[in-house]
């Protein structure tokens, strides 16, 4: 039997029962779309996390006050947690050979005001090394000056959005910005960078760390950022930093070291598991759709018993009858899968257009997987009805018995 005849034969049968065929196609399509959407979501979540943490830099080690058992979680509070201090930063910078530079980071929010315009703004307190560690470039002016971190001048560096909104096209360099109770001289404006590690560098200002700590009356740092001499040296730097800081904290490890790799591994594993789970759930709907195919095919076989008998009387081989019904099942599953892929692509495009911050993308691998899964469901659930048709006794089938 020729392939074209086979498909034409199956197609003719399927177009006869439009509603039944349509519903079966829809069931498959929904399953396929579900798999596509959920896997795209999972992939997007992973891509988002990777993108976020990739911004950390491959040779960065972050010190967070407080001890946590897992890397990348919230530090626990209470206990005998000592503050991270500027002295800790200096000790890390001086005593750890694998650390190229270390920089403190304080954090707070205060109202900023210029020329009658005022808004709440995130204030990061740090040192000149921060620009190197976080790879910040200047749009104009200078970054925070180097020097003893304990004695900073009353200066401020602005994110581009802050500069734009508060100064409204005026050149902010040399102007005085009021931040909380403090009057700070603007010495530079950062080039646009966007969001990295949860901080929008366009929508914040940076001050010397001594100013930052005093402004919010803080005794300890929010973070210490240390940069290893190269990515391979990260574990060594971690070991050295742990030793230095533990010694400085009365032999107690009351801080947590975080690296990009540790975070990526933790989140990556969690999200992979999540994606797998979501895909599994969606695949269940495919299995249900497969059972739908089986049901439709069983009905079809029993309705067409006489036809099977006729085909056998006309000389159709057992294998040909099997093919006829299997091709029908395959056309149902394949057609449903294609429809589902198209709907999935459209849905992903629309969702990606609405939520632009999620990197939603249909991965070709998942499309391939879902297509194979759907066709597989068609074959595996279609084989039983097809076998039943092929095995019908010709004489009985002609009389409508089965």
């Amino acid at each position: 039997m020729r392939r074209r005849d086979l498909t034409a034969f199956a197609f003719q049968t399927l177009t006869l029962h439009r509603l039944r065929t349509g519903l079966t196609l829809a069931a498959i399509a929904i399953g396929v779309t579900a798999v596509m959407l959920l896997t795209a979501l999972g992939d997007a979540a992973k891509a988002y996390v990777v993108r976020e943490f990739a911004g950390v830099g491959t040779n960065l080690v972050i010190v967070v006050p407080g001890r946590t058992e897992t890397s990348g979680g919230m530090p626990s509070f209470g206990g005998t947690t000592r503050d991270l201090t500027l002295e800790d930063v200096l000790a890390v910078a001086r005593q750890c050979p694998a650390v190229r530079r270390a920089t403190p980071m304080s954090m707070g929010t205060a109202p900023a005001e210029y020329g009658g315009r005022s808004r709440d703004i995130r204030v990061i307190g740090t040192t000149s090394e921060f620009a190197d560690v976080r790879k910040l470039a200047m749009e104009s002016g200078e970054y925070l000056p180097p020097g003893d971190p304990r004695q900073g001048e009353h200066v401020v560096v602005l994110g581009t959005k802050v500069a734009r909104e508060l100064f409204q096209g005026e050149n902010p360099l040399g102007k005085t910005l009021r931040v909380g109770e403090w009057r700070l001289r603007v010495i530079g404006v950062l080039a646009a960078k966007g969001i990295s590690l949860g901080i929008d560098y366009d929508d914040q200002v940076q001050v010397p760390v001594s100013v930052g700590l005093k402004m919010f009356d803080q005794s300890g740092l929010f973070r210490i950022l240390a940069e290893a001499v190269n990515p391979q040296a990260v574990p060594i730097a971690q070991r050295e930093m742990r030793a230095v800081l533990t010694r400085r904290h009365d032999d107690e490890e009351d801080f947590t070291l975080i690296t990009q790799n540790a975070m990526l591994q933790t989140f990556g594993a969690v999200i992979d598991a999540l994606t797998g789970g979501l895909a599994g759930i969606a695949a269940i709907s495919l299995a249900v759709a497969g059972i739908g195919i089986m049901n439709v095919m069983l009905v079809s076989v029993s309705e067409r018993t006489g036809e099977v008998g006729l085909l056998k009387a006309l000389g159709a081989r057992r294998r040909q009858i099997l093919q006829v019904f299997l091709v029908e099942a395959l056309m149902l599953s394949g057609g449903g899968a294609l429809a589902g892929i198209v709907v999935g692509l459209i849905a992903i495009a629309i969702a990606g257009g609405i939520w632009t911050f999620i990197p939603l993308r249909a991965s070709p691998i998942w499309i391939g997987v879902v297509l194979v899964l759907a066709m597989g469901a068609g074959v595996s659930f279609g084989i039983l009805p097809a076998r039943r048709a092929a095995a019908l006794d010709a004489a009985d089938a002609l009389r409508g018995r089965h």
């Binding site: 005849d5 003719q12 004489a395």
Partner: protein, 244 residues
């Protein structure tokens, strides 16, 4: 020739005596036994029969006399429990299912009381069906379909679906389909059973015409008027051939 075959094929025991060259169908002591629960039903009971090439034979008998089983065995839709069946010189018993399908495809045309047309297909597609399953090249099919439909007087109705045709027309489509692979035997199971007498007569006339052109025709029928057209009438009772 029909005389020779007539005397050769006899009800009851004993191998049929027709010369092997002449008989297109030859049953020797054929039985077909069905197991129904505990009991055995002998649908065919030691039947021997020879039908010569070009014969027009009718099989008559009451319901349950075994005439349908006879037709199924002759058409290779069913195989004998015992005995031997030579079809056109070929031994049929023991053939695989696929070989039997091939025999049906090449040598046997079937028509049925209920026509068995595929309802979703046009007359032309129905006639094309056997060629589709035989793998005949598409470009050869159209002409053959048209020729067969014209031969049964349905040339202009080729693109009608069965529900747009009368009963007589449907049976004529079925005959065109049965003939499209150019079989040597046509087996008809109550071909006029669902038709009014005028359409029935037309179908019988058509079968006679085909027979005159050399086709061997075997009809199973209740209708004495149909049987009257046959040159040979076989009567069955309780699985046996009782009378010619």
């Amino acid at each position: 020739m029909s005389d020779a075959a007539g005397t050769a094929a006899r009800a009851g025991a004993g191998p049929a005596a027709a010369g092997p060259g002449e008989a297109i169908i030859r049953l020797d002591h054929v039985s077909r036994v069905y197991q129904v629960g505990e009991s055995q039903v002998r649908a065919l009971d030691d039947v021997s029969l020879a039908i010569a090439r070009g014969e027009f034979a009718a099989v008559m008998g009451p319901s349950g006399s075994g005439k349908s089983t006879m037709l199924n065995v002759l058409g290779c839709l069913d195989t004998p429990t015992s005995g031997s069946y030579l079809l056109d010189g070929e031994r049929v018993e023991g053939l695989s299912e696929d070989r039997l399908a091939e025999v049906r495809q090449k040598r046997i045309g079937f028509i049925f009381q209920s026509f068995h047309l595929v309802p979703r297909m046009t007359a032309a597609r129905n006639v094309e069906l056997p060629m589709i399953f035989a793998g005949v090249e598409p470009r050869l099919r159209g002409e053959r379909v048209q020729a067969r439909l014209e031969a049964v007087g349905l040339g202009p109705r080729a693109h009608h679906r069965p529900d747009q045709l009368s009963g007589g027309e449907r049976q004529r489509v079925a005959i065109a389909r049965a003939m499209v692979m150019e079989p040597s035997i046509l087996l008809a199971d109550e071909p006029t059973g669902n038709l009014d007498s005028r359409s029935g007569d037309e179908i019988v006339a058509l079968l006679e015409r085909l027979n005159q052109a050399g086709l061997t025709v075997v009809i199973v029928t209740h209708d004495p008027r149909v049987a009257a057209h046959a040159r040979r009438v076989l009567r069955m009772s309780d699985g046996r051939l009782v009378e010619e």
